[in-house]
Amino acid sequence: MTSAIELDHVSKIYRRYTGRQFATLKSALLKRSILRDLQPNEAFLALKDVSFTVAKGSTVGVIGRNGSGKSTALKLVAGITKPTSGTVRVDGRISALIELGAGFHPEISGRENVFINGIMLGLSKREVEERFDDIVDFAELREFIDAPVKTYSSGMYMRLGFAVAIHVDPEVLLVDEVLAVGDEGFTHKCLDKFGEFRRRGKTVLIVTHSLALVERLCDEAVWLDAGEKRADGDPKRVVDAYLTAVEQTEKQQMAATTAKAVQAAAPAGPAGDMFQATEGRWGSREVEITSVELVGPDATPSFVFHTGDAVSINLGVRAAQPTSDFVFGIGVFNADGVCCFGTNTGIEDMTSDRLDGDATVTFAIDSLDLVEGTYKLDVAVHRGDGAPYDYHRLLYTFRVKSRTHDIGIFRPKHRWTFSSNVRFK
């Protein structure tokens, strides 16, 4: 199979002219720095040695976080910018759906804009004439086509832009996150059009955040991260790898949030009401919580879990003097500050007897039945009468992820059953 798009060790450096912020021509001339000012003094590597090929007739999705270089890659393929090093080769006429309706002039009619836009995208006047009716019908703008474009709603504007771009009849179609055009019906029409493109053996390169779309529509996926290609190939596999990495980052963010919260909590904070939802740490420290760890099913400390995971909360505690009066407690709160669950050893009828020196306390949850979201954790050790030894209020943040997007807080183990005359596909 021959390739329609080939990126060979492509790097793109964007120059940032930080010193030029306030420089003017005059000062550049006065300081004779005009040539120097035109040199970059800070370089930003948007793409780093990226290579991938798109086979003729295949649909390929490019995924990655914001700022990972997806759009830069697309612009390079479109020829709008040039690679700093490496080569980009494209075989066949390109149409780029990067910004729909770029180049529409607001003052003139839709009809005239269709012609000019078509010519801009590389059609001849005759070719636009031939396709004009199809374009207008596709955009569903028959009755408004002679009104100035400035009177169009943004949806109409995008639809017209999309219609022109897709009727250029390219061999290679580049799409940058434009499927959010118009209403549900129009989106379906666009997807149908992509389907038609694929059937006719055209090549499509899509940049998108919609992973579902990539899994459904694409033959292959490319994952870019901070300008580097992390993976390419089977879309399911690449999307999974991407999702795993996103979790990893979230984990780091949670760890950072937690570390910051723990550090910010004053060593001897104000004695607070436990129902007052401000984070902090207080208590007499006769018994101290020295470490808090959340451990997932893979037995390593983490901050990101999946609904239904077995999770343990491990506390390290130290009693300065042996004591017989202590209660351990935990509480889980969601992002809105609602208490999802709270308990302590007192509530659960455990009578304290002896605590001496360093000890560990484990609160094991067999199945973390929470819906997707960010949660905060309270841990505490206090006297039987409630006087705190060491209270950690909302200092620990963790995230629960789920493939199902159910709502609420609690996700009980459940199943649906139906009588035989209820059917699902």
Partner: protein
């Protein structure tokens, strides 16, 4: 660079439709529409005529009728100055195209120059009407030189427009600088006065260094005075214009790759 120059020809369909759009869009929504193309120079002309014949009492018989004389220089100057001021901002206002569409950027300043050239050409019938009205006719023998002057001006203006528009992307001040330079340039060119006026004499050597001096004098000699004696200077300017055009295009081509990022 020359392959790029060659591809300019491929874009003529695009340039053509953009010029047409420019003209259509400019007066869309105004009551008088394209009539403004005629009214604008007329208004300017009547202001200058009033100032220079009634208030300043310019009575040199050689420049009579003064309105026709001034019109001969004013019309090409308006083309020149409007082209440059529009071209310098064309890349910035067309930034969307450069950043988001594979679009030959040089088309934008060229369209600015050509659209204003159409306005210039639309002004010629008014000039002709003035000539008939004042019964002051040009020398028919010199008229074949007219397209030559227009061509020289076109090449000269295109060169400056390309160079300045490319520079403006990096130095926005070019726009403001240009506005002031154009005012100075206007008064340093014999348009509202004649090059042979005695008070001009001392500066003539300096004025001759001004390329537009030769254009204005050529227009006036061809359209207003009986004798066209400026052919040599005009052809020299023609050669210079080609150099200016190539230099402007070279600068544009060199900075081209930075547009998509700097606009």
């Amino acid at each position: 660079m020359f392959s790029n120059l060659g591809s300019l020809l491929r874009y003529r369909g695009l340039i053509q439709s953009l010029v047409a759009r420019e003209l259509k869009a400019r007066y869309r929504g105004s009551v008088l529409g394209i009539v403004w193309s005629f009214v604008n120079p007329l208004l300017l002309l009547s202001i200058y005529s009033f100032v220079f014949t009634t208030i300043m009492q310019n009575n040199d018989p050689r420049t009579k009728p003064f309105a026709v004389f001034m019109f001969c220089g004013l019309l090409p100057w308006t083309w020149f100055s409007a082209s440059l001021s529009e071209a310098t901002s064309s890349l910035i206002s067309g930034g969307n195209l450069i950043k988001k569409v594979l679009f030959p950027a040089e088309v934008l300043p060229i369209v600015s120059v050509l659209a204003n050239m159409v306005h210039f050409l639309l002004g010629l019938p008014i000039l002709a009407a003035f000539m008939i009205g004042f019964r002051h006719y040009p020398n028919v023998a010199a008229l074949p030189w007219f397209p030559v002057v227009v061509l020289v001006q076109l090449i000269f203006t295109l060169g400056l427009a390309l160079g300045l528009s490319a520079l403006t992307v990096h130095f926005r001040d070019v726009r403001d600088l240009l506005a002031n330079v154009l005012t100075l340039w206007f008064f340093a060119t014999p348009i509202i006065y004649a090059y042979f006026m005695p008070s001009v004499g001392r500066f003539l050597a300096v004025f001759r260094l001004n390329p537009f001096y030769h254009l204005a004098v050529s227009y006036q000699e061809i359209l207003f005075f009986d004798h066209f004696g400026h052919a040599r200077s005009l052809l020299l300017l023609g050669a210079l214009s080609i150099a200016v055009f190539l230099a402007g295009y070279w600068l544009f081509d060199r900075l081209r790759d930075s547009f998509a990022e700097a606009v």
